[in-house]
């Protein structure tokens, strides 16, 4: 029974199914927040994850991966972030219910007065810091940091993994050129996070949890954080093995696993496979369709949306802030789009100009 379950999980596990599954869970969570944030919903999710780990721990390989000192915090992260997302959504749903009835929110009902940072907040922070320090000491006592042989530039460990907080970036690097996944996208993530208070200047719903009136912001945040960051870290930690190949949770990490990953550029697909002309000699002719596609992607949807669905938002934000918001959102969406293009068409780069180290 358990063997069958493990084989089934390994058989359906692939980057496509896991990513798509996560997107579906995300969509269910944001469409039915009331059910997801209920006690039953939270306990069901917790039970499912615990059951998966319970069954998984009977497997020797799964146990060795999950209990590696490097990976234990990632297991903890799944539970901690899951809990806090559920808890925040629960508070937001409660406030939504109160606001529908015209009652004050929990925070407003508690007090509308200002509370002093000292001693109220500082006291809580001090207690948390003490508990945190005790936790860190215990952690360092029980989970040893691995000490390996001296570094050798001609030997890369297999698999070579970045520190856990960069595993999302490492996973992105599989789909993008280094300067995009390693420089441009992280910069845009940081700048985008800094830009949030300047884009969303509406003070109406600040100071308390709520979901219905901040849907766009919360959904974008949850998608970017859960699906595009935490999920990629989890995949990179547990499911990427030697040669950065994908392995199911119960699959043995075989160094000699052969996965055909032959990738082709858009220009190859277009000029050789579909048109049959052969590649043009000049790079600007060769990459013109890809460049055109990128520009269309960045310009057309914001323009069309501004005239139709998002007319109100565009008017509220004014053109500059609207365009910045749209640019950031489109760049964020480009990651899953590029991943699906890779999985569906083995597409390597939309624009590939190795002459100038410029690939998109």
């Amino acid at each position: 029974m358990i063997e069958l379950f493990k084989e089934l999980v390994d058989a359906v596990s692939s980057p496509v199914t896991i990513f798509t599954g996560a997107v579906v869970v995300f969509l269910l969570f944001v469409t039915f927040p009331r059910q997801a944030a209920s006690k039953g919903g939270g306990l069901t999710l917790l039970f499912l994850v615990l059951a998966f780990f319970g069954v998984g721990l009977t497997d020797k390989h799964f146990r060795s991966i999950v209990s590696a000192p490097d990976n234990v915090p990632i297991v903890g992260m799944i539970f901690i972030f899951g809990y806090f997302t559920w808890y925040a959504m629960r508070k937001a749903v409660e406030n939504d219910r109160r606001m529908e009835k015209g009652e004050p929110t929990v925070e407003q009902a508690e007090t509308n007065d200002k509370v002093l940072v000292f001693p109220y907040l500082i006291f809580i922070e001090f207690v948390v810091a003490l508990a945190y320090a005790v936790g860190l000491v215990l952690w360092s006592l029980f989970l040893k940091a691995p000490l390996e042989e001296p570094a050798n530039p001609t030997v890369s460990p297999n698999p070579s993994k970045a520190p856990w907080y960069f595993l999302g970036l490492q996973e992105m690097l599989v789909y993008f050129d280094p300067w995009i996944a390693g420089v441009l996208l992280p910069t845009l993530i940081i700048l985008g996070l800094c830009a949030i208070p300047y884009i969303d200047r509406d003070p109406g719903n600040s100071g308390f949890y709520c979901y219905q009136k901040r849907r766009l912001g919360i959904q974008v945040y949850l998608f970017g954080f859960w699906v595009l960051w935490i999920l990629l870290i989890v995949v990179g930690t547990f499911l990427r093995g030697p040669n950065w190949n994908f392995f199911g949770p119960f699959e043995r990490w075989d160094v000699h696993k052969v996965v055909p990953l032959v990738n082709v550029n858009l220009s190859d697909l277009l000029f050789i496979k579909w048109l049959g002309w052969g590649l043009p000699k000049e790079w600007y002719l060769r990459e013109a369709p890809g460049i055109l596609l990128i520009f269309t992607y960045l310009i057309l949807p914001p323009a069309v949306l501004a005239k139709t669905v998002l007319k109100g938002l565009c008017k509220k934000l004014e053109p500059v802030r609207y365009s910045i918001l749209m640019f950031l959102l489109l760049v964020m969406l480009s990651l899953p789009i590029k991943m699906y293009l890779r999985w569906a068409f083995n597409l390597k780069y939309l624009v590939a100009i190795p002459e100038f180290f410029f690939n998109i």
């Binding site: 052969v258 990953l261 780069y349």
Partner: protein, 182 residues
């Protein structure tokens, strides 16, 4: 604000505080210029010492040129890894001749592994794959592995020159120096 500022008594004009001597404009400018010049000279001197520090007296690095034995040492069709550790070079003997491949992945610079059974170079960091020729065919690497200059030395040994690189995407593999016909 206005009232208080008016309340402060105005300073008597044209009477410098006692002990301070008057410095002329020319004299001031020449001292000023001298001060700046000496400051700039001191800074440049200090910086040049820092720059000197960046060029150590002794470098414990392997030379960029090395002799890689005789052509007969290499078996046809085999990727030879004997110089990987020391010089970062794979010697590949094809039926037509010999070429030296760099062991630096063109994606982010990890060292790929040569997988004999699959007959490919596979990078452990992000899964880039290269054929025996060095051409990239899977994973994110944007361009093929680089080749180094190979030549025959006077004593009949193979000379590998890592200071000259040949990149396929620039058409440099057609250069006769990138390949040693045997």
């Amino acid at each position: 604000m206005n009232e208080t500022s008016q309340a402060v008594p105005a300073k008597p004009q044209g009477s410098p505080p006692s002990g301070a001597e008057k410095i002329g404009r020319r004299k001031f400018l020449s001292w000023f210029g001298l001060a700046w010049v000496s400051f700039a000279a001191a800074t440049t001197g200090a910086l040049s010492i820092v720059l000197r520090y960046l060029f150590p007296n002794v470098i414990f690095e392997p030379p960029t040129n090395f002799k890689a034995g005789f052509p007969g040492d290499y078996e046809i069709g085999v990727v030879d890894e004997r110089w990987k550790e020391k010089f970062g070079v794979w010697m590949v003997r094809s039926p037509e001749g010999l070429y030296a491949l760099s062991t630096v992945c063109t994606h982010l610079g990890c060292t790929p592994n040569w997988l004999v059974n699959e007959s490919k170079f596979k990078c452990p960091c992000h899964g880039s794959g290269f054929y025996k020729s060095g051409i990239n065919f899977e994973g994110p690497a944007p361009r093929p592995l680089e080749r180094y200059r190979v030549a025959l030395a006077e004593d009949g040994q193979i000379l590998v020159d890592k200071s000259r690189k040949f990149q396929q995407e620039k058409g440099e593999w057609n250069n006769p120096e990138s390949f040693l016909p045997l």
